[in-house]
């Protein structure tokens, strides 16, 4: 039993150990290889890191619930893009002209509603057809992306509202607006998963769906709620990001789903469902962003970054497997 606990500890703590290793490595390597004079662990740089983590991190929280549930959502990148288009475009619609800066709330509301509706659609199809979430969201990934292109062709959609930009670029207690959003979302989802019945049921369904049904849990509606949560978070992520940038390309958010799944898996959530932790997902997105930033800091190009992250992902899953096997064997004795 002791060793089982140790394995659990190693698994929970592993992502944070990995982050510490990254920090040490890039700080030291940065001394010799960096193009800039600034230290890697400079406070400004770290604050920026959190800010840059926010768009993926916010969605990753939703993905953690979905994956604990035993599902997956591949459509988040497309939902992200479509919500961004709605956000920026709606603010320039003539009918809202009289609202002045009040249009910001309209834009946000419509964008968030978009995410909620797209997520609900995914969830409804998964619930009512019983088709695997992988297939359903693979379809909706293509479909939703199609809607983005139908909206404005290959053209970017742009709208800059300076009040909004000021808000998005603001710093409160040193942290940027997107960072605050990430922290609030993380805390909210943590409460949802650890303190509410919905969270308890999510783990139960992912671990043993049949037993969950036999305990009277209505699995279909439960899953639909989770898809609505992740849809909402995908649009919230778009709202936070595009409030600042003010321009969205129809290709934006592509491959987001894969980066997010990578982060969630790095954080120790099982693809098969039933296990996973919000705090570790937070570590997972941080670790990936740190890696991207660190490699850039020492002068590596994007292709190198992808190669390294791919290798690390496989290595981590291999280690995880070893720990699990060991844990099981210890339990038997």
């Amino acid at each position: 039993m002791q060793a089982g606990t140790l394995a659990t500890f190693l698994k929970r703590g592993a992502i944070w150990g990995f982050i510490v290793l990254e920090l040490i490595f890039f700080s030291v390597a940065g001394e010799y290889m960096s193009l800039s004079d600034k230290a890697f662990m400079d406070a400004g740089n770290m604050l920026l890191l959190f800010k840059q983590t926010a768009p993926l991190g916010i969605i990753a929280m939703g993905m953690t619930i979905i994956m604990i549930n035993g599902n997956i959502d591949l459509s988040v990148g497309a939902t992200f893009a479509l919500s961004a288009v709605i956000l920026l475009d709606s603010m320039s619609w003539p009918m809202f002209e009289s609202l002045g800066d009040g249009v910001i709330f309209v834009g946000w509301g419509l964008a968030l509603l978009t995410g909620l509706v797209l997520g609900a659609l995914n969830g409804l199809i998964v619930w009512k057809t019983g088709v695997d979430a992988f297939i359903v969201t693979l379809g909706s990934m293509l479909g939703y992306r199609g809607l983005v292109f139908m909206y404005n062709g290959e053209q970017p959609t742009s709208h800059l509202n300076w009040t909004l930009v000021d808000f998005a670029e603001a710093q409160f207690l040193g942290l940027h607006t997107p960072t605050w959003f990430l922290l609030v979302v993380t805390a909210a989802i943590w409460f949802l998963m650890n303190r509410t019945v919905h969270g308890r049921n999510a783990y139960a369904i992912g671990d043993n769906r049949e037993a969950a049904v036999n305990a009277g849990i209505r699995v279909g509606p439960h899953m639909m709620v989770n898809f609505m949560i992740i849809g909402f978070l995908a649009s919230l992520s778009a709202v936070v990001f595009y409030s600042e940038s003010g321009s969205v390309n129809p290709n934006d958010g592509e491959l987001y789903e894969l980066w997010i799944i990578t982060a969630v898996v790095l954080g120790g959530t099982k693809l098969t469902g039933g296990a996973g932790s919000i705090v570790s997902t937070f570590g997972g997105v941080l670790a990936i962003q740190l890696l991207r930033k660190g490699l850039a800091h020492i002068g590596a190009d994007t292709s190198t970054v992808n190669l390294v992250i791919g290798l690390i992902l496989i290595a981590v899953l291999f280690l995880d497997r070893q720990l699990n096997v060991k844990g099981r064997e210890e339990l038997k004795t």
């Binding site: 303190r195 019945v197 049921n201 139960a204 671990d207 969950a212 305990a215 009277g216 209505r218």
Partner: protein
């Protein structure tokens, strides 16, 4: 029986598992051209014996002799190469492939460059199929065949080798009467070709119709072999149950209360039909029958997992419709399922969370779970049911079978159900915990719960039940009170020998 060398001879087979002597000095032989029945209650050791024969388990003592050659079996494939072939109750066929490919799976005839020699394959297959006199040919896709014909494919697969002994494990479990006739013809043909046949079945009628001799196992030990023509059902039953049951029969009648659950003419497709019974508060009603008799399906209907095709369910005299487990739970019906690990427990969750899973929503305070209340419920039922665990944080997957079962029972008791259905209460549970669970069930009845116990173990049903419903092929054959039931009349009722109870 043309010569005197057995086709297959088992000598003094001993197989032990920690704490259990699963097979204790089992010996019997099958002559060429003989159909030899192997009988025994569930848990008597039949399947362990088959696994020894198939090389899945290695016996500690004894030997297996095929023809005149002692063989140490290492795998089912090895057994097959020695001419010992199994026809399992569950079919293992690739449904998308043709009959021929299934029969020669893994050993398809080849031409140069690894190409399949289709001509030879189909020719060989049709040759075998002809012997079996079946209505389909080598190119038929297996998924398109009926279950009976799929079984024929399994048998055909057995005939690709020079079989010395073929073991049929409950071959008629999923066959209609007409299909059985075809199967019996095939078995007779095999017999005429001098193959020795071991026929495992619970069904007396088939044993008397088909077999030459009957060997009986009980509690892992060999109880004797009888010539089928010189024995009768009573004698075989006697051998199977034998001992005066060490479990005392339940005679203590608790004060019976009102009828809690009544079922009238309930049917569900061809799974079961016209089932009527009632359960009173303070009463344990046992359901006994063979696997596939429809008992679990009735429980699943009451729990909302299956919709009935006809009939009524009444709770406290009110007709109810139950479409989901959530409906059932809301009406106070709870089910301790047959397979607790797959259907009853979330193994990766701790004891407390498992126990309170159906009621966390009722317990919650505001938006958040009331974890303190959950712990006190867990503590209360841990003490009540004597669940042995270091604490509520322990993962359920780490508990013993008996303690896991108590968690499932505690889960429902803590919600004070009207009707508690327990499907196979002691499957996979060690002997000591068994009697604890039995006493627990009796206690629950005396506290006024209405309890349904489904079991395939006769001593268990006899021990815990106030009344016993005997089922055969989806029908209730007879309902016994604990005074009138005997092992004999019960086993006859579930074998379909006695005619349906006059309504």
């Amino acid at each position: 029986m043309t010569d005197h060398i057995p086709a297959l001879h088992l000598q003094g087979i001993v197989k032990t598992f920690p704490g259990v002597r699963a097979l204790d000095d089992v010996s019997f032989e099958v002559m060429p051209g003989e159909v030899h029945a192997l009988m025994g209650e569930n848990g008597a050791g039949k399947s362990t014996l088959m696994k020894v024969l198939g090389g899945i388990y290695q016996p500690e003592e004894g030997q297996i002799i095929v023809g005149e050659e002692p063989v140490v079996m290492t795998s089912p494939l090895h057994a097959k190469s020695k001419g010992i072939v199994f026809i399992h109750q569950e079919l293992s066929l690739a449904e998308e492939l043709s009959v021929a490919e299934n029969i020669y799976l893994g050993e398809l005839p080849r031409k140069s460059f690894g190409r399949v020699d289709w001509g030879k394959l189909f020719a060989q297959t049709n040759e075998i199929l002809e012997k079996l006199k079946v209505s389909f040919d080598a190119k038929t896709i297996v998924g398109e065949l009926s279950i009976a014909n799929q079984q024929m494919v399994e048998i055909a697969r057995a005939l690709t080798v020079d079989a010395k002994a073929v073991i049929f494990d409950e071959p008629t479990a999923s066959l209609t009467d007409a299909e059985k006739v075809v199967l019996f013809d095939v078995i007779r043909d095999l017999k005429d070709q001098g193959v020795g046949i071991i026929y495992i079945s619970h069904r007396m009628e088939e044993v008397f119709r088909m077999t030459d001799r009957v060997s009986v196992l009980r509690d892992g030990s060999y109880r004797g072999t009888l010539e089928t023509t010189e024995t009768n059902e009573d004698e075989i039953t006697q051998l199977m149950i034998g001992r005066s049951l060490d479990l005392s029969r339940n005679k203590t009648h608790a004060e019976l209360g009102e009828v809690a659950l009544e079922v009238r003419g309930l049917s569900c497709g061809d799974l079961y039909s016209e089932v009527s019974f009632d359960v009173r508060r303070g009463e344990v009603v046992g359901f006994y029958g063979l696997v596939g008799a429809g008992r679990t399906e009735i429980a699943e209907t009451l729990f909302g997992l299956r919709d009935p095709s006809a009939g009524q369910i009444l709770l406290d005299g009110q007709e109810v419709r139950i479409h989901s487990p959530a409906d059932a739970i809301a009406r106070g019906i709870s089910l301790v399922p047959e397979d607790r690990k797959a259907q009853g427990l979330v193994l990766g969750m701790n004891c407390r969370d498992n126990m309170t899973l159906p009621q966390v929503d009722d317990l919650k305070a505001g938006p958040f779970m009331a974890e303190g209340a959950e712990v006190s419920i867990f503590d209360q039922y841990r003490d009540k049911l004597d669940i042995r665990t270091p604490g509520w944080k322990q993962l359920v997957g780490n508990l013993s079978g008996g303690n896991q079962q108590k968690i499932v029972i505690g889960k429902w008791l803590s919600m004070h159900p009207n009707v508690l259905i327990v499907d196979e209460p002691t499957r996979g549970i060690d002997v000591g915990s068994k009697s604890e669970i039995h006493n627990l069930i009796r206690d629950l009845a005396s506290q006024g719960y209405a309890v349904i116990v489904i079991s395939s173990e006769m001593p268990e049903v006899l021990h815990v039940s106030d009344r016993i419903v005997a089922m055969f092929h989806g029908r209730i054959m007879r309902t016994f009170t604990s005074e009138e039931v005997t092992e004999d009349n019960l086993i006859q009722a579930i074998s379909g020998i006695e005619s349906t109870e006059a309504a």
